[in-house]
């Protein structure tokens, strides 16, 4: 190997190609990446710690802000976890409204991602086009929930706002609009020569690696792993939707290879799937109440009587998000654990970067739709100029100590 000369290339933590701080250390040979190492820890916000000082209702708004785009996915997983622990049964209408909001969010998230991906390969016309059609769903969300982003509509035991009959036309109009533009948008995005040249056979994550590295969401599905929490562990209205199945590049007549283009196919097809799901929910919307307890104070005092634990899993636009909460006669959870999709998908970068050209680095990074701030966990501890890395054994020790401390 001595004849082979490689050079290190560091990109990050802040770099124009990234939306969020993360550091990549590449070893390159010529224009090709040989190995890749990732350093997280530049944007850790200690959300789990902040949550310990807040009550059950206040946490909802904190969790909405874990991720600006999946702003309903984190509260959803949290609500599911707390409802499981406290054995609260959500009324059917609330389940359907939750599904509608969740799918509207997926719709706008995938459109946003398509724009970002186009921007990363320098195709700004497509970037502006997808962001333009995304406005419609944001306006719809604003009309239904009151806010454009961070909707504040979920609450433990249901939703805070009903979709009243006068909002049906707004929703219907949005759906019609997307049914209308979908075919053309699909053609502009997927049949485009620039996109195909830049995305095909780039950043390949094989089926075996997707399984071995526990990829989730569209990243896994593009590698031919039919994994979708909405199908595997259905909650909300998903159990009622019999035709729901994980999207695969096969739907577009392409054998899954796990490259960036496959991930694009999966996301574009999921846009259509989301519109279908919302349509289904609107047609089959049950009547009835939308929450079990509209008063926040009463809900908190109910939860204060509960001892138990719960886990909530939900398919966010980027993949599976799961929350684990322990309730122990407090106004808030005793402990909460958040697992965001990028936590799983970030590791797959290591494999994707095999033999990638330097010019393709931004699009490969963007292809998993990363949300670094959601996933940031371990930090480098920099004391007195020395850098030390916490190993898994260290973390385990700290975790055990903490459990002892709070268990007292």
């Amino acid at each position: 190997m001595s004849t082979r000369q490689t050079y290190p290339l560091h990109i990050g933590p802040t770099h124009p190609a990234f939306k969020e701080p993360v550091q990549f250390n590449f070893e390159i040979e010529g224009e090709r990446v040989i190995t890749c190492d990732i350093e997280f820890g530049y944007t850790h916000r200690a959300v789990e710690h902040i949550a310990r000082e807040r009550n059950f209702i206040q946490i909802l708004y904190l969790l909405e802000r874990i991720c600006g785009i999946c702003s309903v996915s984190h509260p959803m997983a949290y609500c599911l976890a707390v409802e499981q622990a406290a054995e609260i049964e959500v009324p059917p209408r609330a389940k359907y409204i939750r599904t509608i909001i969740g799918e509207l969010e997926r719709l706008h998230s995938h459109l946003l991602w398509t724009g970002v991906a186009a921007h990363e390969i320098g195709f700004d016309t497509l970037f502006l086009y997808t962001w333009n059609i995304r406005e419609k769903v944001l306006d719809c969300l604003e009309t239904i929930t009151g806010n454009r982003i961070n909707y504040g509509i979920l609450t433990i035991g249901g939703v805070r706002r009903d979709i009243t009959p006068d909002l049906y036309p707004v929703l219907q109009e949005t759906l019609d609009y997307y049914y209308d533009v979908f075919e053309r948008a699909r053609e502009i995005i997927l049949d485009n020569m620039s996109i195909q040249l830049r995305c095909k056979n780039v950043g390949i994550l094989s089926h075996e690696n997707a399984l071995a590295y526990c990829a989730v969401g569209p990243t896994a599905r593009a590698s031919g792993v039919p994994r979708d929490v909405r199908v595997d562990y259905p909650v909300n209205a998903y159990p009622d939707i019999e035709w729901l199945k994980p999207v695969s590049p096969l739907d577009a007549g392409r054998e899954p290879r796990g490259d960036v283009y496959d991930r694009m196919i999966v996301r574009v097809h999921e846009i259509h799937q989301s519109i279908d799901i919302i349509n289904f929910c609107m047609e089959n919307m049950p009547e009835g109440a939308v929450d079990v307890e509209p008063k926040a104070t009463k809900m908190i005092s109910t939860l204060k009587k509960v001892q138990g634990e719960g886990i909530g899993r939900y398919e966010a636009p980027r993949g599976e998000v799961s929350h684990y909460d322990i309730l122990d006669n407090r106004e808030g959870p005793l402990l909460m654990k958040v697992k965001a999709p990028t936590y799983s998908n970030g590791i797959t970068w290591m494999k994707m970067f095999d033999n990638v050209e330097i010019a393709d680095i931004p699009i490969v990074i963007a292809s998993i739709d990363p949300c670094v701030a959601c996933a940031d966990r371990m930090s480098f501890v920099d004391s007195g100029g020395r850098r030390s890395i916490m190993t898994s054994a260290d973390l385990h020790r700290l975790s055990v100590e903490k459990q002892r401390r709070i268990g007292k």
């Binding site: 807040r54 209702i57 206040q58 904190l62 009151g146 806010n147 504040g152 502009i188 049949d191 104070t297």
Partner: protein, 148 residues
């Protein structure tokens, strides 16, 4: 390819939604610029929009429910003397507010409500434009120990 060209012409002839940037001078308020009519206005907001909070000083009883529930800790209480009794009233720092409307839902007297105003950016986050109830505060606040 055809779809792309078609889309281009469609966009070219459709009405404009965005504004040329930058405007010639920094306005003290975006509303002035809108009133001048030389930029395209934002789309209208619907009923139920969560905009700027409105607070009714008269009906508030100072129960502090809103202060306790506020996830952003945007609400501050100050002492007043109303009807010859010591009481408390609130101010809301809009720069901290997350527009979640939990305070509106919890208020037993319905003295909080959310309006449709959303262009709230400003330079002074402690100025009257960004602190709801600050005018009343200046008028009614009493020093804690001077009492009744």
């Amino acid at each position: 390819m055809i779809a792309g060209v078609y889309k281009f012409f469609e966009q070219f002839f459709s009405p404009k939604a965005t504004n040329i940037f930058p405007v010639k001078r920094v306005p003290s308020s975006i509303k002035e610029l809108l009133a001048g009519g030389d930029i395209y206005p934002p789309i209208a907001v619907h009923d139920g929009f969560r905009g700027k909070l409105h607070y009714d000083y008269i009906t508030c009883i100072g129960c502090a429910m809103c202060e306790k529930i506020c996830p952003a800790k945007a609400i501050e209480m100050y002492p007043v003397v109303e009807n010859e009794k010591k009481s408390k009233r609130i101010v809301i720092y809009l720069s901290r507010c997350t527009y979640c409307s939990e305070c509106v839902n919890i208020c037993p007297k319905n003295c909080l409500s959310m309006g449709k105003e959303f262009m709230l950016a400003g330079f002074d986050k402690y100025g009257p434009a960004m602190v709801v109830g600050s005018v009343e505060r200046r008028e009614h606040e009493v020093k804690e120990d001077s009492g009744a």
